[in-house]
Symmetry: C2
Subunit: 201 residues, 2 copies
């Protein structure tokens, strides 16, 4: 059986997005693409970590990552990723209202889950089989799964900028104690991997 | 000429201390020694980074790091470090009121600077000669020097716990763009070194 992973890009001061995320500014004010330059403009030097983002057997995604505002309710909205999203697997989107599953090119499906994070994870585990499940983001969704103790491996991609305002990954309640697994630094980002301690901290 | 460094231990969610720091609980509520275990209980595996904390030719220290409350005004208060502090060099303490210099064993002196961070740094540079100046902490003092663009090298010792409330290292205004220099992970802490970009970011 696979593990549950979560990966997210954050600034040195812990922000995953700026304020006021919209369709026009998906990362919020003041961010532009700066938290994600490493995966687009510098994909070669971060190849392993970029590949890991889309290597799971199934995904759970927050409503705000799928789309801003009420996009999950909008039958025309099919995510940010164009006709062939990079997931190539089932993506369970946390939603407030039911919507029919959307089948995209390349094997990605967006399935809308209205009964909570446990249900979404259970469905993703069933779909993933022996493969890992990835909590794809955004910050508040990863935060909820961290708080529930459901993330086995947390992969932080720390970009050496400060942002000052926006959506934070932390704090999490209750407090976490993690174990460092690995770290790798490239010129534009530092990749930190943590796991849940084997003995609760 | 040396550079200006700043090193500080922070939690994964960016806190350098808990709330309500007092003489009895110098790290604040809920922290105990957890942000500093790496340098005391696991000094061997972090030997290089522990040594670097006290390798400068002179230091600047914030009022709250020297002592809680109004300790800098209290002629009986001589810091947390006992009769022979680990600095063995001049330490310029930012203070609101003048106080005579305190000479400790082993060459550490505490000199109280009442005319601001630029003055304290200038005096520390003069005292350090060709050696580095270290901004010893705490978080708010490092933050002021970061905001003023006066830190050449920032050394973060990231402890894999979340704290949730207390004194943050960030945010800094204006926003920072740093360059990663090095990273090293040991079982209890991750050492991240950044420098000011050669071309302002």
């Amino acid at each position: 059986m696979g593990i549950v992973t979560a990966g997210i890009a954050i600034s040195l001061d812990g922000f995953a997005a700026g304020p006021n995320q919209t369709r026009e500014k998906p990362f919020g004010d003041g961010i532009d693409g700066r938290l994600h330059t490493w995966m687009f403009d510098h994909a070669d030097e971060n190849a392993a970590e970029v590949a890991a983002l889309t290597s799971a057997g199934a995904y759970v995604m927050g409503r705000n990552m799928f789309g801003p505002d009420r996009s999950a309710w909008d039958l025309d909205w099919r995510g940010w990723w164009g006709p062939n999203p990079p997931y190539h697997a089932p993506v369970f989107v946390l939603a407030h209202r039911p919507r029919d599953t959307v089948a995209m090119d390349g094997g990605t499906t967006f399935e809308f889950v209205t009964d909570g994070i446990d249900s979404a994870l259970a469905r993703a585990r069933a779909a993933a089989g022996d493969q890992d499940v990835a909590i794809a983001g955004g910050a508040s969704t990863i935060n909820q799964y961290l708080a529930a103790g459901l993330i086995d491996e947390l992969r932080l991609h720390v970009v050496p900028i400060t942002v000052g305002v926006g959506e934070r990954l932390f704090p999490v309640s209750p407090q976490l104690t993690l174990e460092p697994v690995s770290v790798r630094q490239t010129p534009h980002v530092t990749h930190l991997v943590y796991r849940r301690p084997t003995v609760p901290g």
